[in-house]
Point group: C2
Chain length 330, copies 2
């Protein structure tokens, strides 16, 4: 059985063309492009909290990196470099090999080099720091939304939460939704190209990791605005909930809850002035990624996000998103 250093070398030391010096020294060395700012983000994923301990290691490897690249995407940054630290209860080479496969598949797809890391024995835990580049002053922040800006979201938020509910037996999704929703949960695609396309267009952006209401709420908080979100403008899941029988009524409620409060989607929610509406349609077409205008920012009325039903009446929801310490779920 190889020791710690052997394991790192065997599975994680791959060529790092974008680094001056890759894994194997006290630090990695990188040379940022002249004048660029760096966006830096870190995420820790814990077995039993963020994923089930028996999660497929290849999917975990992909997702662990993807959620960090999603934070870079939400700033409009180009992913460049990542470090990976992990604790494992025991050396399981097959597990490590599969994790590395998923991790490096994601790294290759988004063009990042794994420049360093740390492995140790301990309860299963994966911590990643990702670094991207962005032109000075161009990063998409949470604090730039202004009253009157339109609110947009990419893709179909809620699918990942529906996938989780399906896997946990809380709903039984009709075909072909299980594959779509479980895929969204297990192999999220960070919206890197969208984030970069939004530079100079979006006034604020965030990725949907905790749920649409919660994450849009962060934009409200940082921008000092309120938000009006209109249910009729949300992406419709007609073929999922359209047949109208009683079972579908329950499914429709759960689907709406997942859309508004389900985390783990890694779509982008962003704001832009109405003057950008046409341009955003072009970006959606170019990226082959649906973009939905779901409401508008308002003057701060003391609330964060108000949801309006099809009759333009405000409705209330209890769950505002996932907060690791705020709620007691394991």
């Amino acid at each position: 059985m190889p020791g710690e250093f052997g394991l790192i070398a065997k599975y994680f030391a791959r060529p790092t063309p974008s680094a001056v010096l890759g894994p194997g020294d006290d630090c990695a060395l990188i040379q940022p492009a002249p004048g660029k700012q760096l966006a830096v983000t870190t995420d820790m994923l814990v077995a039993g909290v963020h994923f089930l301990p028996d999660t497929d290691p290849g999917r975990l490897g992909w997702k662990a990196l993807a959620v960090n690249l999603s934070d870079l995407a939400a700033m409009g940054a180009s992913p460049r470099w990542v470090t990976l630290a992990g604790a494992l209860p025991a050396v399981d080479e097959a597990w490590i090999a599969k994790f590395a496969d998923g991790f490096f598949a994601c790294a290759a797809e988004f063009g990042v080099d794994v420049i360093g890391g740390d492995t140790t024995r301990g309860p299963l835990n994966v911590c990643i720091t990702a670094i991207g580049e962005v032109e000075p002053g161009q990063a998409l922040r949470r604090d730039g939304a202004r009253p009157g800006d339109e609110i947009w979201v990419s893709g179909r938020p809620g699918l990942a939460a529906l996938g989780l509910a399906h896997l946990q037996g809380q709903v039984k999704l009709p075909e072909p939704w299980p594959r779509l929703c479980v895929g969204a949960l297990e192999k999220p695609r960070p919206r890197v190209a969208l984030g970069q396309a939004l530079i100079g267009i979006a006034s604020a952006a965030i990725d949907v990791s905790d749920g649409l209401l919660a994450d849009l709420g962060h934009i409200c908080e940082r921008s000092g605005c309120s938000a009006a979100l209109r249910l009729v403008q949300l992406p419709q899941l007609r073929d999922l909930t359209g047949s109208g029988d009683q079972h579908d009524g329950a499914l429709r409620r759960i689907a709406l809850e997942c859309q508004l409060a389900g985390g783990d989607d890694y779509e982008l929610v962003f704001t832009a002035s109405a003057a950008q509406h046409t341009q955003l349609g072009r970006i959606a077409a170019l990226l082959e990624l649906p973009l939905w205008c779901i409401g508008e920012m308002r003057e701060n009325d003391g609330s964060k996000v108000t949801v309006f039903d099809p009759d333009d009446q405000p409705v209330s929801f209890d769950r505002q998103g996932y907060d690791h310490f705020g709620q007691q779920t394991a």
Copy 2:
């Protein structure tokens, strides 16, 4: 009880004058100085592996950051920015407050800004990524040692391991050693100023985290050399082991083992051509930090480090340092 975001804001969001954008967005934004390279390192510390679960949280906070700054020191980099991710079994505000105190005391002392982080519920785990700046081509690496170079170490490696042995009741250190050794264990001082002073002088460097033999072995490996380490040239611990009675004989053996194989000291071991000998004496005086010339690099003879006793005879040691997966200690 505040939620996750409240906790982060309360204890970890402090001014970050060296960042363009600090905690609170999807990413932090930093602007590296023009032309500089960045040194990046990450370390994960796990309760029960790297520290005892009941470790004083303030000391843990200091040490968690110090060990990362030590990796920057070993590259000769100037510490600038860090991210902090942590898992906690439960919200314990008193614990968090003390941890933050220790962490920010170290950050303030070495001039780094805490630009972002992540907190979650889970088995106690602290993961830090540190970023420093260094002039292109100037970083101290592990691969630059050449046959004939002298081998140097700073301070008195072994004190931390002696402190641990004392705390665990394996030795009873005479006064005033308990305070010195436990202090070295609990509040290590990364040799940041030394690392920077060694730029242009040292041919290779590494910090002593796993033990002198093991870490010097990494220099040998990466530089393609062997090393000769002379026991008589090690820092003497005379007043610790000098009284000559039987108890002191055992203590002397343990002290030597700690010097050669004890981890957690975070001194620097480095190589430099003999022409730098006088200059290194000046640096030691300037920094008020003892530097010991403990041997020399040799042509690669297939071994890594050979230790010579006072009669110039090679001696062998079993423990070459700490390897989280290679040994079974909890």
